[in-house]
């Protein structure tokens, strides 16, 4: 099993938007490696006779009908916003 290298650490950091100190990175590398190693154990299971599944639950076809049920909840929804302006959520400027 390949260890987590610096490049992988850097890429994960970008994707998760978590910026760690060198010390934290080293610790995280070790912990991530342990998790991967643990998951790797699953490969030892004999699944030859197991039916492939698509979901953890047995349920299927849980539907709603196409009927409008919600009214204007703008105020209640915006009550959760850290910052708001003109009935909208205010967020740090993003371009793209």
């Amino acid at each position: 099993m390949k260890k987590i290298d610096d490049e992988m650490m850097e890429s994960l950091s970008v994707l998760s938007k978590l910026y760690l100190t060198e010390k934290e990175k080293e610790k995280m590398k070790e912990e991530l490696w342990k998790i991967l190693d643990y998951v790797e154990k699953l490969n030892e299971l004999d699944t030859e006779k197991t039916k492939p599944g698509v979901h953890v639950f047995e349920n299927s076809n849980v539907f709603r009908e196409d009927v409008v049920e919600n009214g204007d909840m703008c105020e209640e929804m915006l009550a959760n916003a850290p910052a708001k302006k003109d009935g909208q959520y205010e967020v740090p400027k993003t371009i793209g």
């Binding site: 639950f57 349920n59 076809n61 009908e65 196409d66 909840m73 703008c74 009935g87 909208q88």
Partner: protein, 483 residues
């Protein structure tokens, strides 16, 4: 010698489905509401909110998939596509990766160089994101989540297109199919149909694909054509200079006719897709598919063929009539009421389209009762009203949907067919226009038309022009004999 290149194009097309509610919650999908008035804990990604799938979305997706000759995956499943951006408050978009609802289909397109099949790689259901407005005067952006959770289908083609003309033909075909299915209005300008263009170039005769770029923000057929030609030239230039094309997402600016790099393209693995545990698998039973197959509409192509065969209409006419399902429906119903398909087609293609164009109306905005046009056609056929008046009456039908026979009576537009009355009017005109009469007798045929016009005028336009012509000719020629 300059090398020859081939352009390879594949498309990802997003189509907004015309359901009443969002894909996973009971919020309205109505366009144009005040910001955030169509939102709830589900479509704003509140922790603990539970999405439940709108059955209509599955039905619409299946109908689209069947029309694109796709295979259906049963079960199909939803996955989470993870990315951080404020238009997406859950930090993941619910989409389908591993088991999309449809796969392996095709659409037939026709361009000046003939017919061709464009293969569909897959088609999946997903939710739309919110809308960000960037405030120019401050360091913040504002988010409206009304669009968050609007159902979309994404149709991914194989890289089977080679020219901008093929791309436009493909998009027009998709739009026509979706409109005939009534699953979407597919307006590029309003964003209910969005196309991302994946493009690469390679030397003609080689088989390996070159590095591709993806272009976004293409919201008209013209913009798509310009962007494709521009990107093809940009890539060829790079290769000619011995440089490499970088795999990236580019944004087209139609005003500047130029595209710029937005970001280097993420790999699928960067999105860390995994099955969404909140949403149960969807099993699609054969009976449901059979029911949907039976209830598919007659598409534009089938209508064109039938109109030509059944009604003897020209290829050009049927092309115009089937341009929108709404127009075709008006034509068919008018024909049903009057039993005269050729006349019905002429009124649709001539006056209806002229008035719609004059007013800058979309076909879907044309609302008159086919029965009223049908009645008018019958009245004209019986010769009860002349063509000029008929056009006036039709304008009234087009704008106000008036009842033609009543309107014609009330406005005294019935053609006068009383020979005595007409003869009297002709006599008067001949007496008043002796100079013109003389010129006519000297062989100046043009003045005949002038005299017909004068007679029609004294009759306030309500005469049968054919009868006027006949009587006038008789009288003029008879007098000529006497002199």
């Amino acid at each position: 010698m300059k090398k020859e290149y081939e352009t390879i194009i594949g498309l990802e097309v997003h189509v907004e489905l015309a359901t009443k509610t969002k894909i996973f919650c009971g919020c309205s999908t109505k366009f144009g509401g005040e910001p955030n008035t169509h939102t709830c804990p589900v479509c704003t990604g509140m922790p603990g909110a539970l999405p439940v799938l709108n059955k209509k979305v599955v039905e619409y997706a299946l109908r689209a998939g069947l029309a694109l000759h796709c295979e259906v995956n049963s079960p199909c499943l939803f996955d989470r596509k993870n990315y951080f951006y404020p238009d997406n408050p859950q930090n993941y978009q619910i989409s389908q990766l591993y088991l999309p609802i449809c796969h392996d289909g095709y659409v037939e397109i026709e361009t000046a160089s003939g017919k061709k099949n464009i293969r569909i790689h897959e088609m999946h259901m997903e939710e739309d994101a919110g809308k960000l407005v960037h405030d120019e005067w401050s360091d913040c952006s504002l988010v409206d989540y009304n669009r968050s959770g609007i159902p979309l289908i994404e149709i991914v083609s194989e890289p089977d297109m080679r020219t901008a003309a093929e791309v436009v033909a493909y998009l027009e075909k998709l739009r026509s199919i979706m409109q005939y299915l009534e699953v979407s209005d597919c307006k590029l300008q309003e964003g209910s149909m969005r196309a991302d263009v994946n493009l690469s170039v390679r030397e003609k005769g080689t088989l390996n694909l070159g590095t591709r770029t993806e272009m976004k923000n293409l919201n008209s057929f013209k913009a798509i054509t310009r962007a494709i030609e521009n990107e093809r030239d940009r890539q060829i230039e790079l290769l000619e200079e011995g440089k490499a094309v970088i795999q990236e997402t580019r944004r087209w600016d139609d005003n500047k006719e130029y595209s710029y790099a937005m970001r280097s393209k993420e790999d699928a693995k960067d999105y860390r897709y995994f099955p969404d545990p909140d949403l149960m698998p969807v099993n699609i039973e054969e009976e449901w598919l059979e029911f949907l197959r039976k209830n598919q509409p007659e598409f534009a192509e089938e209508k064109r063929e039938r109109y030509q065969k059944e009604f003897g209409l020209s290829k050009y006419d049927v092309l115009l009539l089937t341009e929108s399902r709404h127009l075709a429906k008006l034509f068919e119903e008018t024909t049903k009421f009057c039993g005269m398909p050729k006349q019905a087609a002429n009124w649709m293609i001539g006056e209806t389209l002229r008035l719609a164009k004059e007013r800058g109306m979309e076909y879907e905005e044309i609302h008159f009762s086919p029965q009223h046009l049908g009645d008018l056609i019958r009245i004209v056929q019986k010769g009860e009203i002349n063509n000029r008046n008929a056009k006036k009456v039709f304008e009234k039908i087009f704008y106000e949907d008036i009842e033609p026979s009543l309107y014609i009576k009330e406005h005294g537009m019935v053609s006068v067919k009383d020979t005595k009355k007409l003869a009297q009017a002709v006599e008067e005109i001949i007496a008043q226009n002796s100079k013109a009469v003389e010129e006519y007798r000297e062989g100046k045929q043009k003045t005949f038309g002038f005299l017909v016009g004068q007679t029609m005028r004294t009759m306030h336009g309500n005469a049968d022009p054919e009868m006027v012509r006949e009587i006038l000719k008789q009288k003029l020629d008879r007098r000529a004999d006497f002199s």
